[in-house]
């Protein structure tokens, strides 16, 4: 399965439903921290560039506040896409070279707890 199919399956999002209204970006509290803005998430998936999305700053700046999911008028829910992009990265164990020992050095006060927990679950052993 290629990464576009994977991200669609994990997120359950059909990016083609997006009408480019920008309500996600208008709602996002982390907008200014992001390199790829919420309304652009779908474009990266449609253009077959999940790689950039997964390695973007945005993946780690999303607070999972769900404002975009709640307010999206087309049920596209960009928050699910970026969450799926994170999942994709986390699932690529080995390729990414993240070890459990490295995690404490990556600790960042701004990092979402949810993310730490999933990384911990994945690499603890």
């Amino acid at each position: 399965m290629n990464s576009v199919e994977a991200i669609k399956e994990i997120s359950g999002v059909n990016p083609l439903k997006c009408m480019k209204c920008g309500k996600c970006s208008a709602s996002c509290p982390s907008f200014n921290e992001m390199d790829i803005k919420p309304h652009q998430f779908v474009t990266y998936v449609i253009n077959d560039d999940v790689e950039s999305l997964a390695w973007s700053k945005s993946a780690w700046k999303c607070l999972s506040c769900f404002a975009c999911i709640e307010r999206c008028p087309r049920d596209v829910q960009p928050g699910r896409l970026i969450d799926a992009a994170r999942q994709l990265l986390i699932r690529q164990r080995g390729q990414q070279g993240l070890t459990a020992e490295e995690i404490p050095t990556l600790l960042d006060e701004e990092m979402p707890q949810q993310l730490l927990m999933s990384a911990f679950r994945k690499y603890w052993r």
């Binding site: 209204c21 309500k23 970006s25 208008a26 709602s27 200014n32 309304h39 307010r71 008028p73 087309r74």
Partner: protein, 662 residues
Amino acid sequence: MRRIGVFVCHCGSNIAATVDVKKVVELALREPGVVHAEDYPYMCSEAGQSRIAQAIREKQLDGLVVCSCSPRMHEATFRKCAEKNGLNPYLVEIANIREHCSWIHKNMEEATQKAAILMRAAVAKVHLNAPLQAGTSKVTKRALVIGGGIAGIQTALDIAEAGFPVDIVEKEPSIGGRMSQLDKTFPTLDCSACILTPKMVDAASHENITLFTYSEVEKVSGFVGNFTVDIRKKARYVDMDKCTGCGVCQEKCPSKKSLNEFNRGLNTRSAIYTPFAQAIPNVPVIDATACIKMKTGKCGICEKFCQAGAIDYTQKDAIITREYGAIVVATGFDTIPLDKYGEYAYNESKDVITSLELERIMNAAGPTKGHLERLSDGKAPKEIVFIQCVGSRCSDRRGKPYCSKICCMYTAKHAMLIRDKYPDTKVTVFYIDVRTPGKNFDEFYRRAVEDYGVNYIKGQVGKVAPQPDGSLLVQGVDLLENKQILKKADMVVLATAIEPNKDVRKIATMLTASIDTNNFLTEAHPKLRPVESPTAGVFLSGVCQGPKDIPETVAQAGAAAVKVIGLLAKDSLTTNPCTAKSDELRCNGCSQCANVCPYGAISYETKLINDHGVREERRIAVVNSALCQGCGACTVTCPSGAMDLQGFSNRQIIAEVDAICR
């Protein structure tokens, strides 16, 4: 044994690309009674029809099966062709091998097999077809228009001008509808009331138009040309014949706290009221839920001051029964409720308003006498934000999936009017797309941008947050700049989606007219019959059929009127001869068929019956073929199998099923 001809159409490649038509012809010739079979590229063409004619003459055919498209398309064509060549039109059967076969299958072998089966069923049926004669029914030469907005008024005026009487039923105390609530109209910016009220007066004074205001349709029975309608005239508590419309009662009424519906609840009105100054008829109604006299028995001030003696607290609702040949639905629209859109703070702040509310605020007869003011503190707003597509184009269950069509234009209108009247007020419009197709529409929008300096931002608003200082903080996005925007505004205007009037479901059910998932009434054909409902004799006018602006509504209203006039101009209608018929020998007079008949077509009579030598008087069902619409409800209800539908008899249906299963 019938002599049957089978004609297989290619429909260009529509059928022939998926169905082996030659094979169907070959198989047809093996069917009992089939003495002729052929295929042709376009059976419906002149040439195709002349081949049918030739075959009827040369082979003495007395039954035809045409394997072609849906009978909805060309059954009439082939029936006419048969009739012209001396064959009863009801001896023609259509086997639908296009919609039911070639269009929905890919495998040629299987599709050919299915086409052959459909052909076989039609041949089996045609063996049992009896020649039928169409009857006639009379046409009541009067039309009913439900809804007295611009759509209903225009339809009624056009029908009345053609010389037919029309009744308008309007549930509000006055005709005028939504258009009477608008201040100015795009793209010409003329005053809405100035162009509407002359039409209202025309309608009220036309000798062929009767107005039933403050009235609702209660019950509809009958069918095209012969509808019977019960209209509930709600108690006005004011005698329409005596009232002079002086307005003293409204001034003196001490109960002044009811929300003014006409002003969208932005201010209050008295318990006895006319919705607006130019109301037609200019006769007030008493709101029984607010009237002190009606609630407590004490007051009666309006009665005391009414010099005409028109007040009558004892008035009751009245039911009027009228007959009509045609019914036009013109029930219009309302804006959607915004309860599900918490992010726009509509329920939190008085300064977040809908566009229709702004329309009332801008109007001289509105709650602020036409001055642009914040409803919270009465101050003039210096910064106004318009938000487009609030509830429109939303497939998320909070809103409506369709585009409301009118919002882009009225927002440009509002923005332009505000910039013109209050040049130091800044106007920002957040939009997804600006959709302005229409004569002089895009030019109008560009004028707002270029000549009036309205700031259009491509992007949506995520949140409107009321601030402690009374202002509104608008968080939006500029997608072209790729920037998030925080803007302080004094007023936010929401371009709220429109939806069909909530009563339309009830009315559609009464009329057996179909509605779509968004409660818009369905057309008989979306392109070719846009103003007719699939229910014969029911026509559509205005937004009840789909979002549209005033020019489109007026055009459609005229089109609906033409259809009505075309119907009323006929003295009689040809009825469908495929009606129910009861077998006297089998009927036991149980009345079950009459109970299920939606058209009241079945009655009973006592008749002397000779049942195989036994002569006795029996109560038997009789179908009035002018009333029967051939729905078949009685045939499936009849416990003794006495009811049968001509043209679709039980034997014919079983023969078809047998042929399919063979």
